[in-house]
Symmetry: C2
Subunit: 430 residues, 2 copies
Amino acid sequence: MNRVRVGICGLGTVGSGVFNLLSTNGTEITRKTGRQIDVSLVGCRRDHPACDLSTTTVTRDIFDVVRSDDVDVVCELIGGTDVALDLVREAIAHGKHVVTANKALIAHHGESLFQLASEAGVSLKFEASIAGGIPIVKAVREGLAGNRINWLAGIINGTTNFILTEMENAGNRDFADVLKEAQDLGYAEADPTFDIEGIDAAHKLTILSSIAFGVPLNLAALYSEGFSAITVEDIRFASELGYRIKHLGITTRSEQGVELRVHPTLIEKSRMLAQVNGVMNAVMVGSDAAGETMYYGAGAGAGPTASSVVADIIDVARSDGQSGGVPEFGFIPQALETLPMVPMEETASCHYLRMRLLDKPGVLARISTILSQHDISIESMIQKDGKTGTAPVAIITDEIRESAINEAIAELEALAEVDGKISRIRVESF
Amino acid sequence: MNRVRVGICGLGTVGSGVFNLLSTNGTEITRKTGRQIDVSLVGCRRDHPACDLSTTTVTRDIFDVVRSDDVDVVCELIGGTDVALDLVREAIAHGKHVVTANKALIAHHGESLFQLASEAGVSLKFEASIAGGIPIVKAVREGLAGNRINWLAGIINGTTNFILTEMENAGNRDFADVLKEAQDLGYAEADPTFDIEGIDAAHKLTILSSIAFGVPLNLAALYSEGFSAITVEDIRFASELGYRIKHLGITTRSEQGVELRVHPTLIEKSRMLAQVNGVMNAVMVGSDAAGETMYYGAGAGAGPTASSVVADIIDVARSDGQSGGVPEFGFIPQALETLPMVPMEETASCHYLRMRLLDKPGVLARISTILSQHDISIESMIQKDGKTGTAPVAIITDEIRESAINEAIAELEALAEVDGKISRIRVESF
């Protein structure tokens, strides 16, 4: 194929971005590939105001795109896992290479789709599904291919990071208030559950874990915790103790097996991940030879996501329509290894605990005693003067298993001197 | 080629790292490539204590390696541009793929070597030549291939970054003192000229500029300034003004042409590049679709450099010995475009100026007048109490052409009220 004919399915923000990028940078892309890459067919229910479709063939049935003889590479940019699944399957069946930005599709159906693509001798690429414009899939799968990767930790949802950054910067705005602003700015959906509860991050982390360790996709085993319970008080205490709060996706591989978890996390202010603010994303990778490397950039938006979609199209073009030799998982399918998943109860972290204590003598001693009965040491502590007979206290513990800290928290909350629930956030040193 | 046979030329720190990494991660690498990749021949003048060569064939003549029928991929890890050039030429002539960590070789002879490789149908890869374990060549050439890249700015020499970080952290140690520590720690060479004067960074930046913009290598046009003149006082003033001093490689492309420069730079403390400390490296890339992305990691050392060498070997293995379709420059050779180089005199930056002024009335007014006669506005200024009849003053100007600031500095230094030379450092917002 000298000319590469791209079919775009879905002309929302990302689809329009891809359409426009291929047009704007057409000359530059030809300089890089020796080929003309252009859009031969667009399938969309309605046109998009950002796109000039006057010289492009448009169909209202996206399935026309995957069946067209005039398309070499199909871009699946409709999202979701129902129609998108049928669409990608049919594209592969018609011998088309597929490029997608759909993290849910890959996290849920990646394995079967990769299998179909492999049998059909086509590529199925998904760089844009994780961390927008950051070429993190390529970095893990190719750039670090000589390494044994031990862990990976990332800020992989821009909405949550925007809200946490704003809460920290303003110092007095609570979660609901900043969420509303994020919605007004278009950084958060009208129904923000997917972002806030960590489901979006869970999809991305599951894929990253598979390509980092060569394990099958295992979304069901992932532990996920949203961050709507984080208060301004937590952010202030964390800051005084030397930390920032970030919503992290973390996956590790050790002798015990694989950990896969998404939750709010305290990170020391001096660490690189603590510098990642607003809607920006970053992924830190810990590996045996390269050590710590980090990849930073915009995690969403038309331009950044289109950048990754087009990079995948260029990869297909450069490999001359061959599947290119890089397995979709980074590991050859027969080498995927099912490792034990470490149950959340058996993971270990340092912990931040915030509680309100009745202003009575000996209360701190009782807290310390209960913690030490569970083998939990206190690394640092801040106590504030309370105004209403209670004093807020924040504690950082040393590393302790979840099961032990859970038991300790339950015992502490049962104390008459502890007023209300205890806020708990894991502390990590990534 | 099912088995991939690697020949290593040079068994210093990097060569040993590659030898050991291929052995340690052999199983993991086979899971990723479906192939066995192992070292079939090592050419080195003397063995390295870190390597167990008991089961490996060793020759004392590195040219045996490039001529051997038992080698598919040659790793050139001897450094320098004399023997290394002959070695790589002969490897290509014998139909071997070549992987090198040699930035000087690529910066000086890349074009002719790429041409030879292309004619011979082999790959010549050099990820390890820039920023150690960071897969920056792959990110620019492939991950961002859909973008028009507008600028690139990096901390690409760990030695200089270590010295600047230590000077800042200690607060009272001068350049020579910290350089000695860096030498004792093995972070700086006995003759540190290559690092300190920016020659090493110049080699790397020249290569990055070519793959970012698709321009021919042009080391001769690069402006380079070392940082041995930076004093503790500069670091303190910069900090008070809200900046850190980093030694940056910067290349930009605009309508005026290409800028290519290495010099000390003030960067706002809140910027990501300002967080890169010690021997760590990072490259920030500004492009039209992805926006700002940054790549961070260890810039040197056995493990990180070996990580990139082995990634290149794996690329060769995965593409089944084909050249893989990614042009060495990122752009196809016939599309390389010679753009005008912007002379340093015509570039524009904000500037930091530090001077000692005699403690006399009206002296600041005279300074301001001279600056304003050259159309230079003062953005911020700090004046300290002097102890000996002179007062140190630091000024940040707005953006101004080099030629204008040079003239202004010459005029200011000629004033009787200005005691000694003026320290000048460019200020950038990357």
